[in-house]
Amino acid sequence: MAVPLSWYMLLSLAVFSIGVFGFLSRRNIIIMLMSIELMLNGVNINLIALSHYIQDLRGQILAFFVIAVAAAEAAIGLAIVIAMFRNRATAHVDEIKEMQG
């Protein structure tokens, strides 16, 4: 048990916040998708660490589901981006403001 739990928690927090900031700062949609993935993986780290620490499988089961769902999300996200691209040749979220107010 070389590495204490708190370090894992910190790592997970770090990855999660990088994901959040990535999502908030970047304009390109693909990169936003990637930062979402980052956030989810951050949470996975946390789950796995906790599951190991408290000797309970639930965390790991949830991690599996998260990975599966993340994949599905990515698929649907990219499909939507392509549909978007077909309509308006842009991937920048700033230009997609047809509806406002």
Partner: protein, 694 residues
């Protein structure tokens, strides 16, 4: 005074004119167009007969006090419609019904051919009904009912020629000024109910002594109760009988047809105030201040009106001011405690004043103008009117032997001999009045009947053109407008340019002529009344039994005067001499030296102008009350408070929300990115909240 059951003829007195009114107003347009007077006159004549019968009962020492039905019942407040017939009511009944009958007959001639003929007679009947209900009522609320009813009828009748702006305005003015008086009167009635728990005269006057010394907190200042009630009731009297503060409506009321002026603004309605004070004498007697106020206001109005009357040029306005002055006499009498004298003067005044008005009516009827400057020399053309006019003038002026003398002298003597502190001051004013009354009356007679005829209407119109072009509203163009009165489709098809103030009578032949018999016969009856009416109250000094005072004694009591016979003789001789001097001066100025009045008016031009414009009271009211309220209504309320403040808030708040919503809407930029930032901010907000919580 034995109590007596209510008989059928007692009830008929007021309800006959009411039926007359209903028949005429409903069937007027079609059925009784020009035969309306049959119903009207017969109903008033019927109630005159019933009044005689009632007088018979009352002379026989009977009093009737009975309720017809409960009018309003709400909790402890119970008021019924009922009749109280006692000597005071009997006198008033005789006065009202006699004058009404004679004037109705006179009006047949005067209003002949007028389009609204049925409407006129129905209003006259309604007036008589209201006046009789006022006089016969046995509680304050029925008095108030009659009070407002007569006010309404005077509104209708003054504004009879409603398509004339001046008439409509005068009607409205009369009603509103009366309403000012009724305002005080209403509060007086509330106070009566609050103190006595009932409004019936019998119960109120029975335990009136209970409130003798009491004071009450009224609007913060504690005031002597009887004085408060008396003065409040007196407000109503001031309004109705055109005393000092609220007299402005009477001169304008002359816009109505002359029979109206005679009946309402001379004989009956305006005397309602005196009747009120006489009826409530138990309350008035309890408070010294109230009595003095009544006396002083009466005296001041008498003097004030008399001075104005000497300068007026409109025949009806002169008589109107003389009425005002005589009413002042009556209040003066009541103020010094001599209620019987007051009522006696009311009784005699009704006859000679109605006579004066009707005679003036027949003069106007002949020359088609009110302005005495264009009359003159009518003695030759209208002998009967002239004779009757002189009788009335003498009686009004207080010429010994005639009825006016006895009643006026009674008042002057009681003013002199009364205990009241203001007695002497009021007596001096009374004497001044005694001087002015014959002066302006005979000024009027000389200007209209003596000298030569100054052309009547045509001359006046010529003069008005000349004057109006030259220097504005010279005093000679006075007199009501001469517009083409009367709606076009009059059956008689006569020329439309007629003098104002009277109907479009068929003017056949040029010069003035005597009125038809239908008008002069009532004049004769009234002349007899003007002479003989006073004989019933000849004071013991001159060998009479003063039956009138004894007759009223149970209701109004008997004022004890201190003063020897010698003083009484002295006062009588003094007042008569002053009256004769007044008459002589008028004769001197208007018969012999006709240019004298011009010179005097030039010399004291300022005083003349003040008197001529009725001390500028109208203008003063207009400036201080009417204009500010209108301005307040238009500028302040409509413009400012309602539009700016309340609407401001009511529309302001939604607009504010609208602006706020526009701002919030702009927050929704449409970029997904920003939404994410807001979500993150929300999360941070929650985290902060969480930290705050723990």
């Amino acid at each position: 005074m034995a109590n007596m059951e209510l008989q059928w003829y007692h009830v008929l007195i007021p309800f006959l004119p009411l039926t007359g009114f209903i028949i005429n107003i409903l069937l007027g347009k079609e059925v009784t167009r020009y035969k309306a007077h049959w119903f009207a006159v017969s109903s008033v004549f019927g109630s005159w007969l019933c009044s005689l019968a009632t007088l018979q009962d009352v002379l026989g020492g009977k009093i009737i006090d009975a309720d017809l039905y409960t009018w309003i019942l709400s909790g402890t407040f119970k008021v019924g419609v009922g009749f109280l017939i006692d000597p005071l009511t009997a006198v008033m009944l005789i006065v009202v019904t006699t004058c009404a009958t004679l004037i109705h007959i006179y009006a047949i001639g005067y209003m002949h051919g007028d389009t609204g003929y049925y409407r006129f007679f129905s209003y006259l009947n309604l007036f008589t009904f209201c006046m009789l209900m006022l006089v016969m009522g046995n509680n304050f609320l029925q008095l108030y009912f009659g009070w407002e009813g007569v006010g309404l009828c005077s509104y209708f009748l003054i504004g009879y020629y409603f398509n004339k702006k001046s008439a409509a305005d005068a009607g409205k003015k009369a009603f509103i000024v009366n309403r000012f008086g009724d305002f005080g009167f209403g509060i007086g009635v509330f106070m009566v109910f609050l103190t006595f728990g009932t409004l019936h005269y019998a119960d109120v006057f029975a335990n009136v002594s209970s409130i003798a010394g009491k004071t009450v907190n009224f609007l913060g200042l504690n005031v002597d109760l009887p004085t408060l009630i008396a003065l409040l009731l007196f407000c109503g009297a001031v309004g109705k009988s055109a005393q000092i503060p609220l007299h402005v409506w009477l001169p304008d009321a002359m816009e109505g047809p002359t029979p109206v002026s005679a009946l309402i603004h001379a004989a009956t309605m305006v005397t309602a105030g005196v009747f009120l004070v006489a009826r409530c004498n138990p309350i008035f007697n309890l408070s010294e201040i109230a009595m003095n106020t009544v006396a002083i206001i009466g005296a001041l109005t008498m003097f004030f009106a008399a001075t104005i009357a000497i300068t007026q040029n409109d025949i009806k306005r002169i008589i109107a001011f003389s009425t005002c002055s005589h009413l002042g006499y009556m209040f003066l009498a009541c103020g010094v405690g001599a209620y019987a004298a007051g009522i006696f003067h009311l009784y005699t005044h009704a006859f000679f004043k109605a006579l004066l008005f009707l005679a003036a009516g027949s003069v106007i009827h002949a020359v088609h103008t009110n302005n005495i400057q264009f009359m003159g020399g009518l003695k030759k053309y209208m002998p009967i009117t002239y004779a009757v006019f002189v009788i009335a003038g003498l009686s009004a002026g207080g010429f010994p032997g005639l009825s006016g003398f006895f009643s006026k002298d009674e008042i002057i003597w009681s003013a002199y001999a009364s205990h009241s502190s203001v007695g002497k001051f009021v007596w001096i004013l009374a004497l001044a009045g005694a001087f002015f009354t014959p002066f302006y009356t005979f000024r009027l007679i000389f200007r209209t009947f003596f000298g030569e005829y100054r052309g009547g209407l045509e001359a006046e119109e010529a003069a008005t053109h000349a004057h109006s072009s030259s220097h504005g509203s010279g005093h000679s163009s006075h007199g009501a407008g001469h517009d083409s009165h009367g709606s076009g489709h009059d059956p008689h098809g006569h020329d439309s340019s007629h003098g104002s103030g009277h109907d479009s009578h068929g003017g056949h032949g040029h010069g003035p002529h005597e009125s038809p018999y239908i008008m002069t016969v009532p004049l004769m009856f009234l002349a007899v009344g003007a002479i003989a009416a006073g004989w019933v109250g000849i004071p013991p000094l001159l060998g009479g039994g003063n039956h009138f005072a004894h007759f009223l004694q149970p209701v109004v009591g008997h004022p004890e005067f201190h003063g020897t016979h010698a003083e009484e003789w002295g006062v009588m001789i003094l007042s008569t001499t002053i009256a004769l001097i007044g008459l002589g001066l008028a004769a001197f100025m208007y018969l012999r030296k006709t240019d004298l009045p011009e010179r005097i008016s030039k010399q004291f031009s300022l005083l003349y102008k003040i008197l001529y414009n009725k001390y500028y009271v109208d203008e003063f009211y207009n400036l201080t009350i009417v204009q500010p309220t209108l301005k307040l209504a238009n500028k302040v309320l409509v413009g400012f408070t309602d539009a700016k403040i309340i609407e401001g808030i009511v529309n302001g708040v939604p607009n504010l929300i609208g602006i706020f919503s526009q701002k919030l809407r702009r927050l929704q930029t449409g970029i997904a990115h920003h939404y994410a930032i807001f979500m993150a901010a929300g999360a941070v907000f929650i985290v902060a909240l969480v930290i705050l919580l723990s």
